[in-house]
């Protein structure tokens, strides 16, 4: 367990804590990583099979032409949004408790987006033609703008993760060896912590934090256009833009909480990641949960009140018929139980908040399924009702992607510090000797 002791400097203890995931993993973690690797490999194999056999191996059909891949796209990019937003807002508002959280938030934003952005390609029957999207763009297609928004968001997220990392790499350089030392030295950009460097870094981080908020909002509203710009009952809704944005932040904050709780527990970072940081995030999560519940209520009541036949049909399918079990499971496990777990003092522990976050993640995945699939099962023409349940190939690819996200996050913090050392030092006045000036005598 890494805690500040009198025998070591406080600064070195913080560096050790930030580099804790880089230590040799125990047997349990190695086993977990191997299992995740097998799931990822199975997912890749399933995708290769789909690539060779065609999109017909999925359960997608003439009626339900968007299925779990679209759900994955919306859900995974939504997960990313929470991380980026948490980091950006806490930076801009100068929240002192953000220190131990921002790096994990930015890391989750990056890996979930990197995996989520693959799904438009995975969904293509002919992915080898994806380049034509750029060489022959259809400027009036929402799908093109969706890709542009996702790529822009990916760009900002990569930079929001890497720019604040510069001083940490310089600080941690003396505490690592081998290829990490060479990598840290190369990426730390001669950081010595001069006031000018601090000013330049601070300005760039603030600019990126300001940028990432509207860009992330745009990504999710443009993503919602793929649904709401159609005339399909259940999708054609003016609330879809904010509905998607709130869903993204709600589930994204849950991912950040879960990742923080797990890292805190597994690597014994309790001394550095305070419980109050997790608790404040949980308060944010339940506020967003209440808001999302309200939006869901609004969507249902407005459609139900107008009573347009086709929309009512979809509504009944979700609330009372084919998909009612899924919907009420979402309400219970995705909204009510997490809110109660955080609201009740006895369960407002890191474990309770972790469980609440996991339920939100699962519940919101289910909700995205309910947004995408049921409206498609009700045809615009004719009476033939569509049926869809993801096929084995789709399930394997989705499981592979989820496992891949976790593995990528593990890999990311096997390479880079999991805590923002420089930021924590700046926020906590006790580390007055930070940042250090590494010996750069041999750099040319």
């Amino acid at each position: 367990m890494v805690v500040p002791t009198e025998s070591r400097s406080h600064r070195q203890a913080l560096i050790d804590a930030a580099l804790a995931p880089q230590r040799h993993p125990g047997r349990v973690l190695t086993t977990v990583a191997i299992v995740l690797g097998i799931i990822v490999a199975t997912g890749v194999g399933a995708y290769i099979y789909q690539l060779m056999s065609g999109i017909g191996v999925t359960a997608l059909n003439d009626e339900v032409f968007w299925g779990i891949y679209t759900v994955d796209l919306v859900a995974f990019i939504g997960f990313s949004y929470g991380g980026a937003l948490v980091s950006a807002i806490l930076r801009l508002t100068g929240a002192a408790w953000r220190g131990p959280i921002t790096r994990i938030a930015e890391g989750t934003a990056l890996v979930t987006l990197a995996v989520g952005a693959l799904f438009p390609v995975i969904h293509l029957g002919h992915p080898e033609r994806v380049w034509q999207f750029f060489t022959q763009p259809q400027l009036d297609s929402p799908l093109l703008w969706d890709m542009v928004a996702i790529l822009t968001y990916l760009l900002v997220t990569v930079f929001l993760f890497s720019i604040p990392l510069i001083p940490d790499l310089a600080i941690a350089e003396t505490s690592v060896d081998g290829w990490r030392k060479r990598l840290y030295r190369r990426l730390s950009m001669n950081w010595v912590g001069t006031p000018e460097q601090e000013r330049v870094l601070g300005r760039a981080t603030t600019a990126l934090a300001i940028l990432v908020i509207p860009v992330a909002v745009m990504v999710h509203t443009v993503l919602s256009y793929a649904f709401s710009l159609t005339s399909r009952p259940g999708w054609f809704s003016t609330i879809f833009g904010p509905y998607f944005v709130v869903a993204a932040i709600y589930s994204g904050v849950a991912v950040v909480i879960l990742a923080t709780v797990l890292y805190r527990r597994i690597y014994h970072l309790e001394a550095w990641i305070e419980e109050r940081s997790v608790r404040y995030l949980s308060y944010l999560m339940i506020a967003l949960g209440v808001l999302y519940g309200y939006f869901t209520f609004t969507e249902i009541t407005t459609e139900g009140y107008v009573g347009e036949e086709s929309a009512t049909n979809v509504l009944f399918t979700i609330l009372l018929r084919d998909y009612s079990v899924a919907f009420w499971t979402f309400v219970l496990l995705g909204l009510v139980v997490p809110i109660l777990l955080v609201a009740w003092r006895r369960t407002r522990t890191p474990l309770g908040m972790g469980v609440a976050s996991a339920l939100v993640i699962l519940g919101m995945f289910l909700k995205r399924f309910l947004i995408v699939v049921p409206p498609l099962t009700r045809p615009l023409v004719g009476d033939e009702v569509g049926i869809y349940f993801p096929g084995i190939v789709e399930i394997l690819i989705t499981a592979g992607a989820a496992a891949g996200m976790i593995l990528l996050l593990i890999g990311l913090f096997r390479v880079f510090p999991v805590l923002g050392i420089h930021e924590m030092a700046a926020l906590g006045n006790e580390f007055e000797d930070l940042p250090p000036i590494p010996d750069r005598g041999d750099t040319s």
Binding site: Q136, L139, I166
Partner: protein, 192 residues
């Protein structure tokens, strides 16, 4: 957009062509000789209420009209930069060797190819329909509405904004990294 309209055209003409052309089909026995040539024409009747039609005339090597021959009418399309053919419909030649396909054109220009089913005999034309016969999807009341110019203007405007945003983001990061690196060097020199 163009491709989807093309497919809409395909569906429309396929249905119309088969239903309208049926009375004209002769109940002839298929000819024993092999089809040698096919000639494709576009006929636009002067009466605007009568839709245009493609007429493909099949003849044998001696120039005799061949009845009872199945003819496929395809339209050439470009979809995402790739040439495709979309089946418009199938007709059977009458006693005069002519198979017909009635169309409701959605665009002024179309490249149509008629081919004898199961053989290499084919012919194509670049058909140009009179403007007043082209049935666009646009409602004339809304075609010149307030938002129509935006449809043309906004995509390039948004593209320009996105390009500027990308330039700004990449510029910001490159400048930041270079300045941090340069300031570090200077400090290093000063310390030394």
């Amino acid at each position: 957009m163009i491709a989807s309209r093309g497919f809409a055209l395909s569906l429309t003409v396929a249905v119309l062509g088969l239903s309208l052309a049926r009375p004209a089909l002769a109940q002839e026995e298929p000819a024993s000789a092999e089809p040698a040539t096919i000639e494709l024409r576009l006929i636009v009747p002067p009466n605007p209420d009568v839709p245009p039609q493609f007429v493909a005339t099949v003849r044998d090597a001696d120039g005799n009209a061949m009845p009872g021959i199945a003819v496929e009418f395809n339209r050439e399309l470009e979809f995402l930069g790739t040439k495709r053919t979309a089946l418009l419909g199938v007709g059977t030649t009458d006693v005069g060797g002519a198979a017909r396909l009635v169309v409701l054109p959605r665009q002024e220009q179309a490249t149509v190819i008629a081919s004898v089913t199961g053989s290499d005999v084919s012919a194509g034309i670049e058909a140009t329909f009179p403007e007043d016969r082209v049935d666009t999807f646009f409602d004339p009341e809304h075609e010149h509405g307030l938002l129509t110019p935006l449809r043309e203007v906004m995509p390039p405007v948004i593209a320009a904004v996105v390009a500027l945003l990308w330039i700004f983001i990449i510029g910001l990061v490159v400048t930041t990294v270079r300045r941090i690196k340069r300031l570090g060097h200077r400090e290093e020199g000063q310390i030394a």
